[in-house]
């Protein structure tokens, strides 16, 4: 990087070209007071506190906006400048309640609270929830203001409390515009803006709607950057200053954002995104920002093991519970026991659980709930080994994005798209439904529902033809047919191909939801072919925080840790050698089979599942929360949450991330690995004597390919570790003989129902159900329909409708969406909702072992409206 010399306060320094005067000064350890400046936001130049004098520039330029030039002579604190700063700050304090800043009793007040209330309406010293956590206070201290000579001009604006998560007292606002820049420039959301002008200028939404009405996603970026108490988290209010801050990884989606959790006593009082976070760089979504406290300290937490005795649950000791469970489990044969595991546990937990099932219980009947979204990974393709960095998105010049829900399921990724587009990237969105990516400009290719697959075939054919690649079976397909199936014309396809070819690097980002559309692992082969032919890199987005870890650590009926197939006898020997035991060699039952097959007599659930229809002899639920399935359980084992244990996650990038323990386990709850190890020790003498998750990680390193190089101490320091699961084989094109069929129109069931995955849960504990704020903004109770369809069916918005499939029916309220194709319906789907078991066709695909859950033919009729 080119360096240039500048003279700042008489000191000559060499700094990187492209910095601003302020950044250069900070590098030289010269403090310049600022209020509107924030390191992660574009400069604004509004607060006027960072003014400096620069030779040859007239007036007082703001250092945060002025780029340095060679030989620049800068003075940062002449008496003149100090004077202006002081007076400007005084002006700010005429509008901002200032008693907490300039009160003559300030010193005593801290100690004796001698001036708790003053008569003046602007006093406010004890009213500001941000007292002592305020940048304005710091700046006042530095600049030194003892008295305000001007009359106060309190704005007397009403405090806005209607929206969830945070409230807004714009009387405390100094209009630094940080929140707006965060909202617009970083998140690309555009909810917030300046409204009115002159002295009436305030921050708000267009047309003064509530934030919910204005489409706010409540990512909290505005709250994070607010220098005063104007934007304040409701749940954090009056908690004061934290005693300790600990970094962690968010347990909800696959991105794995790094957060800083504020702790007081053994309580989480708040969380905010870590600016040093490798995946999120100081950004997070509503789930990570605002729900930790509520989830970890939820009233539905279970604090003691429970055993059903005479029909009622009774609190017992761990010893009793472990004895009881191990004795019971010993009575069943391996094939009679099933395990269903949440995809939000630690890698260490997974390793111990699968070892326990295979070794102690001699069973392979173990599966994880991510099967529904990620069963398409294939050994043949080794696509499970794809690693990438989300930051690559920022450098991409062309992005092909499949998955209309990415902005909802992985909201932080919008930040990357925004950066990419700002850097000149072409963002092409392919899908049937409009994506929720705020105001980020994109090129939209609206396919027919499920037509993405056919479009991919069209892209492959076009590129293959240009490159004269030999994919002879492509001749069978013609573009007329592709247009008919996908709804995209040849011209459009050529346009996309031109963009891919002219703008590189190109990325193909796909949500695993895309794969559900065809319900066939061939889908991945198509994507692979497109990637190889176009030179674009494939970027899959995994859903749950550690679904990748669950698969990689062998939470699967047919795969052992490190993606070793159960049929791969050579590699299995290796495991048997280390585990000093034999492993059952035949694949076990998969998720739906475990739930349906009669052979299963005992079920062990770690996490949650929707209600169980069949009768079981013995049901164990291991989860931190008392959910509906617990009512049927025989034993409930209180696991602690991620916040009370430590371990590693494998995120969507293939990055291994370490999570610190934030607080001590609440009540008698225990980490999952501990519970399973205890039972393991009772059933099997050897192999489960673990005393910490660290010890388990050491064993993983020995056993599981891809984990060998990890160093825990370096992980804790935040060094990036990516899983290496196979050597870089040369990529090959796959011959695909079977092409996706056309979805048949069904006269009786004329609508195609498309499910939008729900990721708003932790171990099955629904945020929508259990967090009032999340419920307000992410309610699931509606079905999206085209108004034209509704007109024909005589359905108005918000009416109740019945959605009927061949297998059952459910009810939902209607929300109009002009944008979607006619005769399609979109419903947010949660595995944990009743709808799942009610309307699905249960025959499973032989390869993926899941039912067809996308493009389900349904009919829609008016429900009974009250």
């Amino acid at each position: 990087m080119e360096k240039i010399k500048i003279i700042i306060d008489g000191q000559e320094i060499a700094v990187r070209k492209g910095l601003t005067v302020l950044e250069a000064a900070r590098e030289a350890n010269i403090y310049i007071p600022t209020l509107c400046y924030h390191p992660s936001l574009p400069p604004f130049g509004g607060c006027r506190l960072c003014i400096v004098e620069i030779e040859d520039i007239k007036g007082y330029p703001t250092s945060c906006t002025t780029p340095i030039e060679d030989g620049m002579r800068i003075r940062t604190s002449t008496p003149e400048i100090q004077d202006i700063r002081q007076q400007v700050l005084e002006l700010i304090l005429t509008e901002h309640p200032n008693a907490c800043l300039v009160c003559q009793h300030k010193e005593n007040c801290d100690e004796y609270k001698s001036t708790i209330r003053k008569v003046d309406q602007i006093t406010g010293c004890e009213f500001c929830p941000n007292n002592n956590q305020c940048e304005l206070q710091e700046v006042v201290k530095y600049i030194g203001i003892e008295k305000i000579n001007l009359p106060s001009l309190y704005r007397n604006l009403p405090i806005e409390r209607l929206d969830p998560f945070f409230e807004r007292d714009y009387n405390l606002c100094i209009l630094c515009g940080r929140c707006i820049r965060a909202c617009q420039e970083i998140r690309g959301a555009g909810t917030l803006t300046f409204i009115h002008r002159g002295p009436k200028t305030v921050i708000g939404t267009a047309f003064n709607r509530t934030h919910i009405e204005a489409g706010c996603q409540f990512c909290g970026a505005c709250v994070d950057v607010c220098p005063t108490g104007a934007l304040f988290e409701k749940g954090r209010k009056w908690e004061g200053i934290s005693e300790e801050v600990i970094t962690t990884i968010c347990p909800y989606c696959g991105i794995g954002c790094q957060l800083v959790v504020e702790v007081k006593g053994n309580r989480i009082i708040g969380a905010y995104p870590d600016i040093k976070g490798k995946t999120n760089q100081g950004q997070v979504c509503v789930r990570g920002r605002f729900t930790f406290k509520n989830i970890v300290h939820n009233a539905d937490r279970i604090y003691n093991p429970l055993i059903r005795k005479n029909g009622d649950f009774e609190e017992v000791s761990w010893e009793e519970a472990v004895n009881y469970v191990s004795e019971k489990l010993k009575k069943y044969k391996g094939e009679e026991i099933g395990f269903i595991i949440s995809p939000q546990l630690f890698n260490e937990d997974y390793y111990v659980i699968q070892k326990f099932v295979r070794l102690a219980l001699n069973s392979n009947n173990i599966d994880n709930l991510a099967r529904l979204t990620s069963a398409y990974i294939s050994n043949e393709l080794k696509d499970f080994s794809i690693t990438y960095k989300l930051q690559e998105i920022e450098q991409a010049k062309c992005i092909l994005l499949f998955g209309s829900d990415i902005g909802y399921s992985h909201p932080v990724i919008n930040v990357k798209f925004k950066k990419a587009v700002d850097n000149g990237a072409k963002l092409i969105f392919i899908g049937s439904r409009k994506p929720e990516i705020g105001l980020i400009p994109f090129k939209r290719i609206q396919t027919k529902p499920g037509g993405e697959v056919h479009l991919i075939v069209g892209l492959i054919k076009t590129i293959a033809e240009r490159k004269n690649s030999n994919l002879e079976n492509l001749n069978k397909i013609n573009f007329d047919k592709i247009e008919k199936l996908s709804g995209i014309s040849y011209e459009k396809i050529v346009e996309i191909v031109n963009l891919i070819e002219n703008f590189s690097p190109c990325l193909i980002i796909y949500d695993l939801e895309l794969l559900q559309a065809w319900n066939d692992p061939n889908m991945i082969k198509l994507l692979n072919n497109l990637s190889i032919l176009s030179g674009a890199k494939l970027i899959p987005l995994w859903h749950e925080s550690n679904s990748r870890g669950a698969w990689t650590l062998g939470i699967s009926p047919e795969i052992l840790p490190g993606y070793i197939k159960i049929s791969d006898l050579d590699n299995i020997k290796n495991f048997e050698k280390i585990w000093k035991n034999s492993i059952p060699k035949s694949p076990g039952l998969s998720l739906i089979e475990i739930l349906e097959k009669k052979i299963i007599k005992a079920l062990y659930i770690i996490g949650d599942i929707p209600k169980i229809e069949k009768n079981l002899e013995f049901l164990i639920v291991q989860n931190p929360f008392f959910t509906s399935v617990c009512k049927k359980a025989d034993v409930i084992l209180p696991a602690c949450t991620w916040a009370e244990a430590e371990g590693t996650f494998l995120n969507t990038e293939g990055r291994i991330q370490f999570l610190n323990r934030i607080i001590e386990p609440l009540g008698n709850s225990k980490p999952d690995w501990w519970i399973i190890s205890q039972i393991g020790q009772k059933i099997k003498n050897n192999g489960f004597q673990y005393s910490s998750s660290k010890e388990i990680l050491e064993e993983i390193k020995k056993v599981v390919p891809g984990f060998q190089d990890i160093s825990l101490s370096q992980l804790k320091k935040g060094e990036p570790f990516f899983i290496k699961l196979c050597s870089n084989e040369s990529k090959k094109l796959f011959r695909i003989d079977e092409f996706p069929p056309m979805e048949e129109e069904d006269r009786d069931f004329p609508f195609f129902l498309i499910f939008r995955n729900d990721l708003d849960n932790y171990r099955g504990f629904s945020l929508v159900k259990n967090d009032k704020g999340i419920r307000l903004i992410r309610s699931h109770d509606f079905i999206e329909l085209n108004p034209e369809d509704c007109k024909k069916l005589n359905i108005a918005e918000k009416d109740k409708v019945k959605i009927i499939s061949n297998y059952g029916e459910i009810e939902a309220r209607v929300k109009f969406n002009e944008d979607i194709h006619q005769r399609t319906a979109y419903l947010r789907f949660s595995f944990f909702s009743d709808s799942f078991s009610k309307i699905f066709d249960l025959p499973l695909n032989s390869k993926t072992k899941i039912p067809k859950i996308q493009l389900l033919p349904v009919k829609i009729i008016r429900g009974e409206n009250v």
Binding site: F44, G45, G46, C47, R48, I51, I57, G59, Y60, P61, T62, T65, T66, P67, I84, Q87, V88, L91, I92, T94, E95, N149, L150, P151, L153, I174, L175, G177, T193, F194, H196, R197, G198, P199, K200, T201
Partner: protein, 639 residues
Amino acid sequence: MRNENITLEKLEIKRKSIIEKRKIYNRLITVCGGTGCQAYNCREVFKKFKELIFQKDLKNKIELKITGCHGFCERGPIVVVQPEGIFYQRVTPEDVEEIINETIIDKKIISRLLYIDPITNCKIEKEKEVPFYKKQKRLIFGNNGLIDPTNIEDYLAIGGYKALTKVLTEMKPAEVIDEIKYSGLRGRGGAGFLTGRKWEICRKAPGIEKYIICNCDEGDPGAYMDRSLLEGNPHSVLEGMIIGAYAIGAHQGYIYVRKEYPLAVKNISQAVSQALKWNFLCKDILGSGFTFNIDIVQGAGAFVSGEETALIASIEGRRAFPTPRPPYPAEKGLWKKPTNINNVETWANVPLIILKGAKWYSQIGTKTSKGTKIFSLVGKINNTGLVEVPMGTTLREIIFEIGGGIPNGKKFKAVQTGGPSGGCIPESLLDLPIDFESLSEAGSMMGSGGMIVMDEDTCMVDVARYFLTFTQHESCGKCVPCRIGTRQMVEILNRIIKGEGEPEDIKQLEELAQIVKKGSLCGLGQTAPNPVLTTLRYFQNEYEAHIYERKCPAKVCTDLIVYYILPEKCVGCLLCLKNCPTEAISGERKKVHVINQEKCIKCGMCYEVCPPKVKAVIKLSGKKELENIQKKQKTEGDK
């Protein structure tokens, strides 16, 4: 749409044929169609002319056009008969038949429609002899009265686009820039930066993609020269822009015009589409290989949008917030590309300089400020309108010779130049030759050329408060000194005019003014305190009168003034009593009426209705004056 075939050569042939074609006319009637005259119903006058010309079958002899603003808005609607230049003012549709019959057919002058010089009381026949026009040098604005702005042929007939052909055939971009530099042309938008220099910086800025912008976000209350140029002679602006684009190397231009100027939007839009048709815009202009296109963007009505960085933000679709410089727009402007912004009037000067040469141009004006400047002369002045004078003309010449002085025999008090953030210049500086430097030395500025004349009935504290209230409301709210500083200043001024001023207020105002000036981000804030600073400089006695004596010498500030009925004059007619909305006046028929000061809300109704012959109700500057009168009466009564 586009006429591909017009090349440089063909243009001259076309031009000749246009001029030939028009030789059949022996008379030209122009009806002023500026927004001012439109308000006076000039459309009806024009319609009537058209009807009668058709009826009387004069179509082939008389050319009739509705032109842009002639400038003398005070006397609209204006009709000029050429080639004699007979000047009729305040013409109504009813006068039209007479004009046709008398002036056109019988070649007689209609005396009653002529303008009467208020000083000599003589009737004036010809336009150029009207004192309002006589003293002007209408280089830029003069053609407004000759052409129909909606007809490109009119502009071509008077030699339009000749400067462009000259540039495209004879000059390299650097030569164009040099010519503009040598001419000494300075930006007419206010700051007065050397236009040629600005172009040069933009030309030299790295990057292929560059933009030029025409700023017609004329937000100053009372200033409307840019509007009149876009309305009356849009092609001259376009021609200037195309030349500028050629010199700078821009291929896309924008004209940012206020939505509140519908006629300007209409005429410039039409001009752009005509220019496209005639191959003055778009690809390969006149076969020269140069490409340039213009889009029109309508502003959404914020005063600050006239600030160039705010204007750029507005074009980009963002809130019109100014951004700090550096980086300057010439380096990083619209869409972060080098951008050159000039005001309408500046662009309109360009073709003139190219055609007549920098040397000729630089002889007009003063040492530092060259050429002419259009001012909009408004306020307490006889001849309201747009005037164009060489730089260096004195204020006295403009106000008293061109403007015809102050109406109703009142005394001149001050003139405020440069829009709401300009300063108020007192009578003692009337002989100031106007240019960029002299105005700023006087504490004011050139600004966009607004000129508001004030007479003795104006309270300077109230004026300062008025302008500051305007800038305060129009402050974008981005930077602290401008947003809160002006608010604090307005609060103080409001107190002063209410009679609640404190002695330290003057010092406080001065301090705040300095902070707002020094600390503000953009020109709006940096100049907003000017009205306060200049009134404090030249009229401090008025502030002191308000603060120390609680009186308003100009008798304007309602909270201070007092209405009083002179007992010796009152005839007891009951008029004021009946009209008083608060029943503050008591009295009986033929008995002296008395105002109850407690009840009086100072609406001035009694003052208005008191018969001129009686003049019993008087306005007093403050309570002290009332007390003095009452004391005097008492002593007289005692005697």
